[in-house]
Amino acid sequence: MELIGKTNIDFIGMRKVSFIISSIISIIGLFGMIQMGRGAANMGIDFSGGTAVQLKFTQPVGIDKAREALAKHGLKEASLQDIKESNKLLIKVGKTTLATGKVADTIEDAFKKEFAGNQFVVESSTEIGPSVGDKLRKDTLTAIIISLIGIIIYIAWRFDFKFGVGATIATIHDVLAMFAVFYLLNKEINLLFITAVLTIAGYSLTDTVVVFDRIRENLHKNLKETMHNVFNKSINEVLSRTIVTSLTAFLAAISLLLFGGEVIHDFAFALVIGIAVATYSSVFVASPIVSLWEERGIKAKA
């Protein structure tokens, strides 16, 4: 069976449109990253410090009533999120005047008093001191930088310069796109999200390498063809495997997203986005950049 037969799509010709789209995505991603650095985005408590408690009630709890109850006990600034399927409530409190270690107790007491008839169990409780959050932020930044440098060094060693730059830009593009989506949807930026980002940074090269290998092969075979045509031909030749490899990873990630439960829901979501973006970028970002560069080089020589 074949998903798509022989194609002849002018991918490189679409680079004007794709570059505009990718630039917008990257700028949003960059903006989101800066906002996160300033703490203006929805940062998880593992980075910002604070308390998160997940409670499971026996009867449904109105989110407004819960907010009222917390406000009564001095936790006005708590953010609430209900997990619909099962009377669960996730309460997050950032830095407060209360001492670390007291917030979780205060939350529990508040619900015990205000919802006396509705029993609950504490499913999870996380308290992170501000110093831990600061350290984690620094470590994470180091981790991202080291991984990118590692990948760049490897690509530089495997490919020549122009391909290396193309692959690196595509990888950074994918990372920025994941940040952009999470920033726009106001989803929580936590350690698991960063894990997903780094995983995709490593994974996104698979598709790019497949395309690049073919371009190199064809460049050696077809010396007379124009760059534009060689690039297009190569992408079209490997298009079905680019799609199939992404599809299998996508199937796995989507089953995590749909059936993996609330703890890794956002993590799986980040993977799904990342796999989709990585496929797009190998065709529409990495190759057009290299082709543009190669064509310029030829024109300059002529």
Binding site: M1, S124, S125, R241, V244, L251
Partner: protein, 533 residues
């Protein structure tokens, strides 16, 4: 290229057997006795996010340990000067690194300097000076001694915490030092995390102090009491209502006996009131001191102080010899049990602060395992169906490679005694998708070669050869990020990195060697003429 087919099959079967042997202890709860003798018992451990439990990071307040050491030096100098009948106005700790001695005259100062040099050669003696008609000598603890002291306080705190946790009874706790001042404690499957945290975090400094009856405690403020006194609260909890009442008491700052002199502490029940109390035993020094002090202070009250809170303040009715005493208060059974544990395990050299507490209840962990497995099963099913439909029989070969990949990975995780976390499960599910990618690349190459008119054997060989570099590239870059995640990640993330990187490495074998041998066997031994791809 049909050589070595038997050997390769043998290798695969050997790995398969090994994996099954290693996975079995994880799957079977009770192993038969013949197994445990020679075969591996190591299980895949479940992370705290899956089995429930607490992950704590505690920061030891190390400057307090230095202050404590300086306080001890000050007290010791007071005693030695008193013993040699040298008069002094005041000896006390000054700031975080000095002991200040205020003396009446220079002559005494010289003698004192000689004593200090002999007793504390490691301390720096600052130049003496005059202040308001008194001679002042300052002793400074230098950086190196202070940092030694801090370092020791953290390792001491770690030992004490380990002791307390052992006595509290937690199976397979992990207690480790992290960085200069932090201690990481993992308590898997703990039922009552709050109680455990309270027990671990308590400084548990036990002191017996004489009550200063000359001061009216009800009117006293911290500023109005004599310099060598302090104002503490006696806490009592009403057993029936749970209300806490606090009564102020003024006691001597200097402790007459401390918890260091204890040898044992046990919970006992008062037969008269059916109330639990903690009975303590002193060592010989403690017993002698206790005997002397009770004899000298009959009729007065002494306060039993734990971490600056008074538990009880009984009147000394008679001289107490024999070296045992009791701490009673308004305890519940659990309070008394916990108090006896901390007293037996000893006090922490400095207070600790909990800077991170991640606690997962057992129900959420169960839920996560169930859903993770569910997602995995569905992921496998989707991928298997897709591959079979898209690549027909060859797709089945890829699926067999994927199943081997997962089995080998589980075996490796068990053999290494690795910890499986929820993100670790996610990594395995993701791996199901990535695992067949290598075969997709190979199969697409084979299809191309077949289209060029090559016979199946040549097409398969060319497919494997040409796809190899591409596969290596994607594996290496994924490994780079997994290694970084392993280095920087904690707990759950580390579990993800371990599962992912092991899986990727194993994938090289399962997707290249294990599937190739099937093709070689079919094409050369069974004379298959057409590939179903």
């Amino acid at each position: 290229m049909s050589k070595g087919i038997n050997w390769r099959f043998l290798l695969i079967v050997a790995f398969l057997l090994l994996s099954v042997v290693y996975i079995t202890p994880t799957l079977v709860s009770k192993m038969p006795s013949w197994w445990t003798g020679i075969l591996p018992k190591e299980k895949i451990h479940l992370g705290l996010d899956l089995q429930g439990g607490s992950h704590l990071i505690m920061e030891v307040d190390t400057p307090k340990a230095v202050e404590g050491a300086l306080d001890l030096i000050a007290t010791d100098l007071e005693d030695s000067l008193a013993a040699q009948t040298l008069r002094f106005k005041r000896i006390a700790r000054e700031g975080g690194d000095k002991v200040k001695m205020t003396l009446y005259d220079k002559a005494t100062a010289e003698t004192v300097q000689a004593i200090i040099k002999k007793k504390y050669p490691e301390m720096d003696l600052l130049p003496q000076f005059e202040e308001g008609g008194f001679t002042v000598i300052q002793l400074k603890m230098n950086e190196k001694v202070a940092s030694d002291r801090k370092d020791k306080s953290v390792s001491q705190a770690l030992e004490t915490i380990r002791n307390r946790i052992d006595q509290f009874g937690v199976s397979e706790p992990i207690i480790a030092r992290e960085g200069l001042t932090n201690i990481v404690v993992q308590l898997p499957g703990i039922k009552d995390p709050k109680r455990a945290i309270e027990l671990i975090g308590k400084t548990a400094r036990l002191e017996f102090k004489l009550v200063d009856e000359n001061v009216n405690a009800a009117l006293a403020t911290p500023g109005s009491i004599p310099e060598d006194d302090e104002l503490l609260m006696e806490k009592r909890t009403d057993q029936t209502t749970g209300a806490v009442t606090e009564t102020p008491l003024v006691v001597k700052k200097k402790a007459i006996i401390t918890g260091d002199l204890l040898t044992d502490a046990q919970v006992r029940i008062d037969s008269q009131f059916n109330q639990p109390y903690v009975s303590i035993e002193f060592n010989s020094t403690g017993a002698r001191l206790f005997d002397q002090i009770t004899a000298a202070n009959v009729g007065k009250r002494f306060a039993v102080v734990l971490d600056s809170t008074i538990y009880s303040a009984p009147v000394i009715r008679e001289r107490i010899s024999g070296g045992s005493a009791q701490i009673s208060g308004s305890f519940t059974d659990k309070d008394a049990a916990d108090l006896s544990i901390v007293l037996r395990a000893g006090s922490l050299p400095a207070p600790v602060k909990i800077i991170q507490n991640v606690t997962v209840g057992p129900s959420l962990g169960q839920d996560s395992i169930r859903k993770g497995l569910m997602a995995g099963a569905i992921g496998v099913l989707l991928v298997v169906i897709f591959m079979a439909v898209y690549y027909k029989v060859c797709g089945l070969v890829a699926n067999y490679g994927m199943v081997l990949n997962i089995l080998f990975l589980m075996g490796a995780l068990a053999a290494l005694g690795a910890t499986l976390t929820l993100p670790g499960i996610a990594a395995i599910v993701l791996l199901v998708g990535i695992s067949v990618d290598s075969n997709v690349l190979i199969f697409e190459r084979i299809r191309e070669e077949l289209r060029l008119g090559k016979p199946p054997i040549a097409a398969v060989d060319a497919g494997y050869d040409k796809a190899f570099l591409t596969i290596m590239d994607s594996h290496v870059t994924t490994l780079i990020t997994a290694a970084v995640l392993f280095q920087f990640g904690t707990g759950p993330v580390k579990g993800f990195a371990v599962s992912l990187s092991l899986g990727i490495i194993i994938n090289l074998f399962s997707s290249l060697v294990a599937t190739k041998v099937v093709f070689d066997f079919a094409l050369s031994r069974m004379n298959v003429k057409r590939l179903s791809i």
